[in-house]
């Protein structure tokens, strides 16, 4: 699935990483606990989270993730957006709740292998 499709499906605003919207991602994981995210290594993932602090971006960096989706209309700080930009991570913000966001992405073929 392309990052652009994720943004469309979740009616999400693209906060940074517009140049990455055509990139393909293979799988996603949804969690507010970063240690749980860190417990499973997987390539090119998407992180769906309702947590907003700089460790979300660092966790995505450690996992080589390409995209973070903030649910429940959570908004990252300018510092977080800057950190994401520097590290080539696209940030999306959606009003969807976690369950709904994960359900939509899963239904449209974004798997969860390893998450």
């Amino acid at each position: 699935m392309k990052i652009r499709e994720i943004a469309t499906l979740l009616d999400a605003e693209v906060l940074c990483g517009e140049q990455m919207l055509e990139e393909e991602v293979q799988n996603a994981c949804g969690s507010d606990m970063m240690s749980d995210v860190l417990a499973y290594v997987k390539d090119q993932g998407v992180l769906v989270t309702g947590l907003v602090n700089s460790q979300v971006i660092r966790t995505a960096m450690m996992m080589d993730m390409h995209c973070v989706v903030f649910v429940r209309n959570k908004r990252p700080s300018p510092e977080m957006v800057e950190l994401a930009k520097e590290n080539h991570i696209a940030l999306l913000a959606s009003e969807s709740r976690m369950y709904e966001a994960c359900g939509k992405l899963y239904q449209h073929g974004l798997g969860s292998e390893g998450c």
Binding site: M33, S35, D36, L38, V41, Q55, R58, M62, M63
Partner: protein, 140 residues
């Protein structure tokens, strides 16, 4: 890379926002040195969890990373309270982190288990009220 390299970092214990900065730096350096992506990820995740632990439990500490052609060693040393029961601390889901840390996305009791999971060797030297040193090795 013929000879070994050493990187040293001070981990600021008062700033949760900057926690992980040393791991990010190590990840960047290992990339420059051309290590395989999987090795880099294992090293940086293990070190990141360790850094978070030092900030959460021990008011920070120091991190030293030794890079050799066939092995990367991470040594994390703090002067925190020590770990009373290592076996218990190693259990997935066991945590003594306060609620405010859980609200930040950590404290799920996965830190030490993750560090062990991603490294080939892990040794914990701890003395109550004196501090803890965690040594981790990842072989190439």
């Amino acid at each position: 890379m013929a000879e070994s390299l050493k990187f040293h970092f001070d981990v600021d214990g008062d700033n949760f926002t900057s926690a992980g900065a040393a791991s990010v730096e190590v990840k960047r350096k290992l990339r420059q040195l051309g290590f395989p992506a999987e090795v880099i990820r294992r090293v940086s995740i293990a070190m990141y969890e360790g850094e978070i632990n030092m900030v959460v439990h021990a008011r920070g500490g120091v991190a030293d990373v030794y890079v050799e052609p066939n092995c990367i060693t991470i040594v994390l040393a703090d002067q925190g309270p020590g770990i009373p029961d290592i076996d218990l601390a190693m259990q997935e889901g066991y945590s003594t982190a306060p609620d405010n840390i859980r609200a930040l996305g950590f404290g799920a009791g996965m830190g030490l288990p993750n560090m062990k999971r991603y490294t080939d060797e892990m040794k914990i030297d701890t003395v109550l009220k004196k501090g803890t040193t965690v040594t981790m090795k990842v072989y190439i």
